[in-house]
């Protein structure tokens, strides 16, 4: 059935209809809480993509590109990594350790790659154990990555309360990283070339995210390793038969996935809060699942979906200002519905949608026949 369908139906029409369906149900929720969905949409779009909010939107987008890419890469190998939360948490630890350790001594252009390595290494390490256990011992990666999210959370509480806590602070947070090691914010960068823009948490790591998209695209579709990765995802047995070691592919893919999640820590720790905080991941790892599903696991799709969800995050905050008795949690509802309709229920409307182009083709065929008969 899939083969006979044109690509635009599979990759554009069905995903778009599914997302629209999710928005439709979201609109019903808005009506339930006495908010006109059209007004709400206006407020959110204005808030998210207006001159004041755009920086914030892109800052959220940065986080989501990293976690969304992480889920996508794993999906291509047939793996479901729901451990993004924990991997990003550990990635933040990696960044803060590098910055606190070498922040004073090294210039930023040497420190930056070190931070990226630190974040990637810690995130990848946290994904390595579930990957190894899946590949070698057959324990299900979904369950182990869930468990590792909780383990990461316990570990970080322990570290922040007992080991890394800044003694001058009441809250369990680490010491602030040296000013020299902080990533330049977007407004500073623009000011350097003489353009003044409003303040926002957007920083250099946004470009890291875009570069990561390009690298993932090259890796998955244009290298031998990417070919092996997709073969394992497509049919593990056939890949094995062709001499591809699925153990190696699973472990490497999950480590790349964990590294990408971990790099979210660069934006949050080195770019914005400049210290390690409890629960700084705040659900971005899970939103990455929605981003990957909506973006059809393609880097361009991931960027677009991240932009949409980043906009929803920022627009949701504006919603809380403009309407009474609503807060950003409404965005979580939309997010859940998107995962439901474009993930779990993605095949629901397929039989109906497939008929449209088929009818069209039939109509054309019969027209042609009539035409040729007349001629």
């Amino acid at each position: 059935m899939n083969q006979s369908m044109p690509n635009w139906v599979n990759y554009a029409l069905i995903p778009v209809i599914n997302v629209l369906l999710a928005f439709l149900v979201s609109a019903i929720v808005f009506v339930m809480i006495d908010i006109n969905p059209i007004e709400a949409a206006e407020v959110m779009i204005k808030g998210a993509f207006g001159s004041e909010g755009l920086g914030y939107t892109l800052y959220y987008t940065t986080n989501l590109i990293f976690t969304g890419l992480a889920v996508s890469v794993a999906f291509h190998a047939g793996l479901f990594n729901i451990g993004g939360e924990g991997q990003a948490y550990l990635g933040g630890l990696g960044v803060v350790l590098v910055c606190l350790g070498f922040g004073d001594q090294l210039p930023l252009f040497i420190l930056m790659p070190l931070c990226i390595l630190g974040a990637a290494f810690f995130g990848a390490a946290w994904a390595f154990i579930p990957a190894y256990l899946q590949a070698k011992r057959g324990s299900h990666i979904v369950i182990t990555t869930i468990m590792f999210n909780f383990l990461a959370s316990s570990l970080m509480v322990y570290l922040l309360v007992n080991v890394m806590k800044d003694p001058r602070q009441m809250a369990p947070v680490s010491s602030a990283i040296p000013e020299a090691s902080q990533l330049p914010s977007f407004q500073d960068m623009m000011a350097a070339i003489g353009v003044s823009i409003g303040s926002s948490p957007l920083n250099l790591s946004f470009f890291f995210a875009l570069i990561a998209c390009v690298l993932v695209w090259i890796y998955v579709w244009h290298t031998r390793w990417g070919y092996e990765l997709r073969s394992v995802g497509f049919n593990r047995n056939a890949a094995q038969y062709a001499g591809i070691s699925h153990v190696k592919v699973i472990v490497v893919t999950m480590m790349i996935s964990g590294a990408l999640s971990g790099m979210m820590g660069i934006n949050e720790v080195q770019g914005v809060s400049h210290q390690l905080k409890l629960d700084f991941v705040a659900g971005y790892g899970f939103t990455g699942i929605a981003v990957a599903l909506m973006g059809r696991n393609h880097p361009i799709g991931v960027i677009l979906a991240s932009l949409l969800f980043g906009g929803l995050y920022q627009g949701g905050s504006d919603l809380a200002f403009d309407f009474e008795n609503v807060d950003r949690e409404i965005v979580v509802v939309i997010q859940g519905l998107v995962i439901l309709f474009s993930g779990a229920l993605e095949h629901m409307l397929r039989p109906q949608i497939v008929k449209i182009p088929m009818l069209y083709a039939k109509l054309r065929a019969s027209n042609n026949q009539n035409g040729s008969a007349e001629a």
């Binding site: 479901f80 256990l133 807060d327 949690e329 979580v332 519905l337």
Partner: protein, 323 residues
């Protein structure tokens, strides 16, 4: 007798903590034994906790609350079934969707209905499940050991605690001694054999998912109307996932699942008890380590280092009838 009292108090706390885990783990057992992975135990529990507290507060009757909780949980179970069984969607994705959807909906609706920032109002006495005192519990309290166990440990819980533990033998009986149970287990192992025998795979799986919904409803209602007096945002705080861990740790069998829930409950009680206690000079057991122990144990078990957890064979794969 000091240590004995301490043990009794800890076991008492264990029962209270283990009850929602037990409801949810048994719920997951019925779903997964039928071949449907359910990581939305957490979401269904949270939905039920909210609905139970909201309905209880509005109607003034805790039983209405319980019913509302169960109905809400069943509603989400049906969504899960609709996505996974009818439309053969990805079961993990569907579970994730329900968890996230519920986390957002409960706070959004709660904020709109009760205007307390997503909480429900504090429940009054009639709106909560109350402890049941066993006969002669007061009189026997002074009898050493037995009286103590009777009046402190066994008596004085609310009805849902007793129900949860009564469900263990009941589930075992349903699963291993009834025709329905045999078919349910068969559909989780080899659905095409069940189909060949002329029994509907779809309807069997739906029944598994429905039972799961009902039991998650009890778990959620227990949290908001028995253990505490009201709903607060994200009050399940990972209990659904811990129940999932208990389900795996108990190898998808009722009695081992109960023991796993008790073990995890005991670890929780111990973590509270050992907070800041030094076992040697200046050396305290990190509470976080005890909190993480259930997950560590489950990972070890899944990896086959301590025994072997073998999931129902067809779990996670939608059934496609050959045409």
């Amino acid at each position: 007798m000091e240590w004995f009292n301490t043990i009794i108090i800890m076991l008492d706390a264990t029962l209270r903590v283990a009850t929602p885990l037990l409801f949810a783990a048994l719920a997951g057992m019925f779903s997964e034994r039928a071949g449907v992975v359910d990581i939305s135990l957490e979401g269904k529990m949270l939905a039920s906790a909210f609905a139970a507290a909201a309905a209880s507060s509005v109607t003034g009757s805790v039983w209405c609350g319980l019913l509302a909780g169960i109905a809400t949980s069943v509603f989400f179970a049906l969504i899960h079934g609709f996505a996974c069984i009818t439309h053969r969607g990805d079961q993990v994705v569907s579970g994730v969707a329900i968890n996230i959807l519920v986390a957002g909906l409960t706070v959004t609706l709660g904020r709109y209905w009760f205007q307390q920032g997503g909480q429900t109002p504090q429940l009054k006495d009639a709106e909560r499940f109350k402890p049941i005192e066993f006969p002669f519990a007061q009189e026997l309290a002074d009898v050493p050991v037995i009286g103590h166990v009777y009046s402190e440990l066994l008596s004085g819980h609310n009805i849902l605690v007793y129900l949860a533990f009564a469900l263990v033998p009941l589930s075992a009986w349903v699963l291993y001694r009834t025709r329905f149970g045999l078919r349910l287990r068969a559909v989780g192992e080899n659905p095409s054999a069940v189909d060949t025998a002329g029994i509907s795979v779809t309807w069997l799986r739906y029944r598994g998912v429905l039972i799961c919904g009902v039991l998650c409803g009890f778990a959620g209602a227990y949290l908001s109307t028995a253990l505490t007096g009201g709903f607060i945002a994200n009050m399940t705080a990972g209990k659904g996932f811990m129940a999932l861990a208990a389900l795996i740790f108990g190898k998808w069998r009722p009695v081992p699942v109960m023991l796993a829930c008790l073990l995890f409950g005991f670890l929780d009680a111990a973590a509270v008890r050992l907070q800041g206690v030094e076992i040697a000079d200046g050396v305290a057991i990190p509470v976080e380590l005890i909190n993480a122990a259930p997950y560590i144990l489950t990972v070890f078990l899944l990896a086959g280092f301590i025994g072997k957890a073998i999931a129902p064979k067809a779990v996670g794969t939608p059934y496609v009838k050959e045409r």
